[in-house]
Amino acid sequence: MKPVPTRQIAPLALLPIIFALGACGGGGGESASSASSSVITPPAVTPPATNSTALKDNAVGSSASFANFATSALSVPVAEVAFIGTRRFVKVTRSDGATVFLGEVGASQPFSLSVDAPIGKRTFSYEIFSESAADAIVRGEVTL
């Protein structure tokens, strides 16, 4: 909790002024004489307008999302790679270079991984390598 500061930004919302006319004159629209009553068309009613981006001035709907990260499943084709070495290692990095997985995996089974990354950074690179210097590192890229 903290003390509430003096409000520094006045609400920008302007209440629309609506001149409503009473139901004067009743029918008789066919009578030219009835036109003597002035009719003022009210402006279209719009939600309170605001240029403020402050959260306190803006409700958001139930569909709003505050998630800045998204989780996805990523598969690396380890079993499809033929190596001289017997051990299999995998490294997975995000497009910004951040490592999300590094280690030894089973050589003959599918390898999948749950990754969590900032929304908008959905491209991942992987390396598959062995313990043998004779095996070139196999690289690939996956966009989720």
Partner: protein, 509 residues
């Protein structure tokens, strides 16, 4: 200290008190020579302290003590690079050999082993292969392994060992040298090469007794946080070595190995606050240790206090929503800013059955202040300061299949003393029996305007200045939550003067 280490302590003390077969006392001795810029040519007769210079008879005593090998302790001392940090540093060894001068010439012994290996590419190479490594920590954690106060390992920060089989009697030789070269790694590949590079130094070296070597191997400083640690084949290790349980084969990092989630709270729940989302800000990351079948065998993590802009006092929890069948134990450790020694009462042991609810920071309002100011890193004109750090490490009693891994970004939550409420991320549930949430029916962590009371943000998000509405600190935020795809990186554009520069370079230490 566990029973095994206590036992090794006893053995170390016992060995230290016994004369060798040649009558020379065996006591680990720091050598004058060092490894500098990745290379060392070290005279084994010259000790760090001249009065402790060694004789060939003493070297022979060391050799016999180690079962026909010479054992060397190395104090790993590297600049942070890649995953390297004060708590975990490493180098790879290109070669190490002992050269002995005898009456008939110089004899070289070039086979060597260390406790650990990793798959590493040499500089200029694009393929990886297994290389021996030395892993340690930053150096302030002084070892107290022995009641033998003459051992230079005692009270030192030595980390890892190199053992070199020497098959001749050294007592009749005239000189002996250790020559060691660290590996130039291909740092362009990132980790593990960046971690196991050498850049700093110098590294102190000691000739070690079998007991002290065993102690270091079991203590394994820095090993749990190092990447791609593979225990060397047991056939190459010293027969008496009983290395700790092999490190897990793999690690999955959330959100990544070198980045953090940032969680920010409004602490006046269920009342709407000032929406500056700075009442408490914590950065954290978590890793899962996996076996080669992809099952989790351990969980660890670390984090930092980033900012505190609320006057309420609270506990910060990191709850790992594990299945009911999971169980295990471990430790939580909290460090005061810029300190490598834990605060009083830490490391704190924890155990769990089902979800692991780690009460990481207790009474943050007491723990972390800026002088007399309740607020830290949120007032506009206040200088930025670093916050407390935490680490945790949990071992699961049985491996957890991938389908049961805890959902990210886990469940970081507050328990606010002043209100008695828990504050979780939207969609999470209240979990504490002593909170008011369930009793008061306050179990939905979204306010009537649709806003949450806590959010997960990328680490580059900067904390709004005190009383500054998040939507004013970041004018694109409102569009983002309303679904504008062009504003997904809203946090990269703070309004000038409305945020504090709480970037990782400030709070990560």
């Amino acid at each position: 200290m566990n029973l095994v280490l206590r036992t090794s302590l006893f053995i170390a003390a016992l060995c230290a008190s016994l004369p060798s077969a040649h009558g020379a006392t065996v006591s680990s001795t720091r050598l004058r020579g060092v490894v500098e810029k990745g290379y060392g040519d070290i005279d084994l007769l010259r000790a760090g302290v001249q009065s402790r210079d060694l004789t060939m008879a003493q070297l022979e005593a060391f050799r016999r003590d180690n079962g026909g090998k010479l054992a060397f302790a190395v104090d790993v001392n590297e600049a942070a690079s890649g995953l390297e940090k004060s708590a975990s540093q490493g180098v790879a060894v290109e070669y190490a050999r002992v050269e002995v001068t005898t009456a008939s010439g110089v004899v070289q012994f070039s086979d060597f082993v260390t406790e650990t290996q990793s798959a590493i590419a040499t500089a200029g190479q694009s393929t990886r292969s297994l290389r021996y490594t030395l892993i340690g920590d930053g150096g302030s954690r002084l070892l107290t392994n022995s009641t033998n106060t003459t051992s230079d390992i005692n009270g030192s920060s030595f980390d890892a060992t190199i053992r070199i089989p020497v098959s001749i009697d050294l007592s009749t030789a005239t000189a002996a040298r250790l020559i060691v070269k660290f590996l130039d790694t291909n740092q362009a590949l990132g980790d593990p090469e960046s971690f196991y590079d050498y850049s700093n130094g110098f590294e102190d070296v000691a000739i070690a007794t079998a007991a002290d070597s065993l102690y270091l191997d079991q203590a394994a400083p820095g090993r749990t946080e190092a990447p791609l640690v593979l225990l060397a084949p047991t056939s190459t290790l010293l027969a008496t070595s009983t290395s700790p349980t092999p490190a897990a084969a793999s690690r999955a990092y959330f959100p990544s190995s070198d980045q953090f989630y940032t969680v920010a709270y409004e602490d006046q729940f269920p009342n709407r606050g000032d929406y500056d989302f700075n009442d408490l800000v914590v950065a954290y990351r978590v890793y899962l240790e996996l076996d080669t079948s992809g099952n989790a065998v351990g969980i660890g993590g670390e984090g930092y206090l980033v900012a505190r802009g609320g006057g309420f006092d609270s506990d910060w929890h990191l709850r790992l929503p594990l299945p009911a069948t999971a169980s295990g134990s471990g430790t939580v450790t909290v460090f005061a800013p810029d300190q490598l020694a834990p605060i009083a009462g830490h490391p704190r042991k924890v155990s769990f059955n089902g979800p692991a609810d780690l009460q990481v920071f207790t009474s943050v309002g007491t723990l972390w202040r800026d002088g007399t100011n309740d607020f830290v890193n949120t007032p506009k004109d206040q200088a930025l300061v670093r916050g407390h750090r935490f680490t945790f490490k949990l071992q699961l009693d049985s491996a957890l299949p991938a389908s049961q891994f805890p959902v990210t970004p886990f469940d970081p939550y507050l328990f606010v003393y002043n209100t008695g409420y828990e504050i979780h991320l939207p969609g999470r549930s209240a979990v504490l029996g002593n909170s008011r949430n369930v009793r008061d029916g306050r179990t939905t962590f979204v306010d009537p305007s649709g806003y949450p009371f806590s959010m997960i943000l990328p680490q580059d998000w900067q904390v709004p200045v005190e009383y500054t509405d998040l939507g004013l600190a970041y004018s694109d935020f409102l569009g983002f939550v309303r679904g504008d795809l062009a504003k997904q990186d809203w946090y990269a554009r703070p309004a000038t003067g409305r945020t504090k520069a709480t970037l990782p370079s400030l709070w990560k230490w």
